[in-house]
């Protein structure tokens, strides 16, 4: 039995920390600076071509190539383009709304997972305060939307564990899993894992699940694969082959994921383990969990574990190009937040059962409090870095890329060919020129066959573009990669002359035009 003041605190404290975190998140967005990632411009170009020319292609009139990551963002941008709404602003709006909706959905998971309101509020606050969130939300990519979908999938799965097998609403889980698969390729693993473990739990009611799973997930996903195979000629997006073609160091993704987990997941887990150990050895008895709550947690852990293992294995040798703000590990932030939610919930449940002397409890209260504050401290420390990154990117776009795009629009005929090495972002989108993407994402030949620098150089001269826009890392001494260095050093490249150069401390871009 709790005192009325404690009951009030139970309500006021969660509301207060979530409100403060939401205010901080909102301030981060308003404060800016704004930017859009290169990949967002790529998706916008596909959407633009689909609306204007009725072709889902990178270059109009050429063979289709799947240089975008997911279809949800593409559909959103296509609708926006069709309605004459700026597609990139639409993508940013989707990202920002998903960020806040994600926090709300995460908080709503506290009840089916059998954890306290306090735990829900802490998890939602960490979700809102994480410094990288704002960068991903405004980048114009599908990251935040994907995160909210994974949390929603998990919520639909844990809610199923509180219903009788085969009874109640079955369709949300397969449909959400399908939306996950449409948003990012690995979404089928995340959504499918939760669905799989729910199906195992409800295996006796397979007759009820069969039509829902078939219509909601299997048929649409199968249709998507068939479309991919026949329209693009592959079972996976070209972005997958482009990353396979590069020689990423083993474990780069795991290191990136480790950095992300260390900041936002590990503190809650450490505090939980320590409190559980102390309560266990001191003989405390926490309130028992209902069977349905145990089931729901089992589904979350197994689903998350399976997703972590499969997706991490598929990324293990990938070259994480433009891995700003731990972008690739961030797709797991929804699942990680659910783990944090359960960890804080268990911590709270066990802490209430602690029978150690009062001074030990006070000491633990302070230590656990600071431990749960660590993610916020890291986020506060990271915030200026995120701002610098966004500001640097935005400044780079304005000073380097926009002048090149303007020059090309003024001096190049619409049928000319541009080669970009490797940034296929704002310049191809705004000039609408036929573009050969040496970043490999939008070029099937480069993604599948050009595994060594000489093949890249040969392909360049075979394509014979009218201009080359190349990214410089240390002036002309070092470009984006070895292929770029060899290209500039090749004797055949003397047919091109330097027309525009925008370099700041060795970093920038150069535009070469055919003589």
């Amino acid at each position: 039995m709790q005192a009325p003041s404690m009951k009030r605190l139970d309500v006021i404290f969660p509301v207060l920390i979530v409100a403060l975190s939401a205010a901080l998140a909102l301030a981060t967005i308003i404060q800016g600076p704004q930017f859009h990632a290169d990949d967002a411009y790529i998706v916008a170009r596909y959407a633009d071509n689909l609306v204007r020319h009725g072709q889902l292609v990178w270059n109009v009139g050429e063979a289709p190539v799947e240089g975008f990551t997911g279809y949800t963002l593409l559909i959103g941008m296509t609708i926006a383009s069709w309605l004459h709404v700026p597609p990139l602003a639409t993508a940013t709006t989707m990202g920002v709304v998903s960020w806040f909706v994600g926090a709300r959905v995460l908080y709503a998971c506290h009840e089916p997972l059998g954890v306290s309101r306090f735990a829900g509020a802490v998890a939602a606050s960490i979700f809102l305060c994480a410094a990288e969130q704002s960068t991903h939300a405004i980048s114009g990519l599908e990251t935040e939307f994907f995160i909210v979908l994974t949390i929603a999938c998990a919520m639909a799965a844990v809610r199923r564990c509180h219903s009788e097998p085969g009874a109640g609403r079955l369709w949300p889980l397969p449909v959400l899993a399908m939306l996950c698969a449409l948003t990012r390729p690995e979404g089928i693993v995340m959504g499918g894992s939760f669905l799989l473990f729910v199906l195992i739990r409800e295996r006796m009611a397979w007759r009820a699940w069969l039509p829902v799973t078939t219509v909601g997930l299997l048929l649409p996903w199968g249709a998507l694969q068939v479309f991919r195979r026949f329209y693009f000629g592959n079972f996976f997006p070209n972005t997958y082959y482009a990353k396979l073609g590069k020689s990423g160091d083993f474990g780069v993704f795991l290191a990136s994921f480790g950095t992300h987990a260390e900041k936002y997941v590990v503190p809650a887990l450490v505090a939980m383990i320590v409190v559980i150990v102390i309560v266990r050895v001191c003989g405390g008895k926490p309130t028992p969990l209902a069977t349905s709550v145990r089931d729901s947690r089992r589904v979350v852990f197994l689903g998350a574990a399976m997703s972590y293992v499969i997706v991490a294995a598929s990324y293990v040798r990938s070259d994480l190009v433009m891995n700003y703000s731990e972008r690739f590990a961030y797709h797991f932030f929804g699942l990680s937040s659910l783990i944090v939610l359960v960890a804080v919930g268990e911590l709270h449940r066990y802490f209430r059962a602690m029978t150690a002397p009062r001074v030990v409890r006070s000491c633990m209260f302070v230590l656990v409090g600071i431990c749960l504050y660590l993610p916020f401290a890291h986020a506060l420390e990271q915030r200026p870095r995120e701002r610098i990154y966004r500001y640097g990117y935005s400044l780079g776009t304005v000073t380097h890329y926009v002048p090149v795009a303007q020059w090309l629009q003024e001096h190049f005929p619409p049928h000319a060919t541009l080669a970009v090495y490797p940034d296929a972002g704002i310049v191809p989108y705004s000039t609408r020129l036929r573009t050969v993407d040496f970043g490999k994402l939008n070029d099937a030949y480069l993604a599948h066959h050009a595994h060594d620098p000489s093949a890249i150089v040969d392909y360049f001269f075979r394509e014979n573009p009218d201009a080359l826009m190349i990214y410089l890392v240390r002036g002309f001494n070092k470009t984006y990669d070895e292929g770029g260095d060899r290209l500039l050093a090749d004797p055949r490249f003397s047919a091109y002359q330097l027309t525009l150069l925008s370099v700041d401390q060795g970093i920038g871009i150069a535009l070469f035009v055919k003589r």
Binding site: V270, V277, I278, V281, A356, V359, C363
Partner: protein
């Protein structure tokens, strides 16, 4: 109060002795850098906790010696984790012994701090127990 002060003094002394013993092995980087150094840091803290749990008196409100030792170890590890993870750049102790790193990477800082805290905890628990048995009138 006397119990609390005595406990803290014993903890502090124990931490300082442990730090003096382990500092040469930890080297210039202290408990930072490579995984073995970090593991050494946690192991040393756990040792301080273990010793404090063994030294603590029976009348501290714990069920038995095992509970005292395990609790002390767990608290020591959590305290070390919190100290190591707190981003406190203004507490960088480069001037102290030439090592460049945050406060809790140095054995000479983290181990006495953990010992002090554990000593205070057990001393406080003993005082609390005594207070409950012989309440002031």
């Amino acid at each position: 109060m006397i119990k609390l002060a005595a406990g803290m003094t014993i903890g502090l002394l124990f931490g300082v002795v442990m730090a003096a013993v382990v500092a040469p092995y930890a080297g210039m980087n202290g408990f930072s850098g490579h995984a073995p150094a970090v593991a050494l840091g946690y192991a040393c803290s756990a040792c301080v906790g273990c010793a404090m749990g063994l030294l603590a008196e029976r009348q501290t409100g714990f069920g038995d010696r095992k509970a005292r030792v395990v609790t002390a170890c767990a608290v020591a590890v959590l305290a070390t984790y919190v100290l190591r993870s707190l981003p406190l750049p203004w507490l960088n102790l480069v001037w102290l012994d030439g090592t460049a790193g945050p406060l809790a990477e140095l054995p000479l800082v983290v181990l006495p701090a953990v010992g002090l805290m554990l000593g205070g905890m057990f001393g406080g628990a003993r005082a609390e127990r005594r207070e409950a048995r012989y309440p002031r009138t």
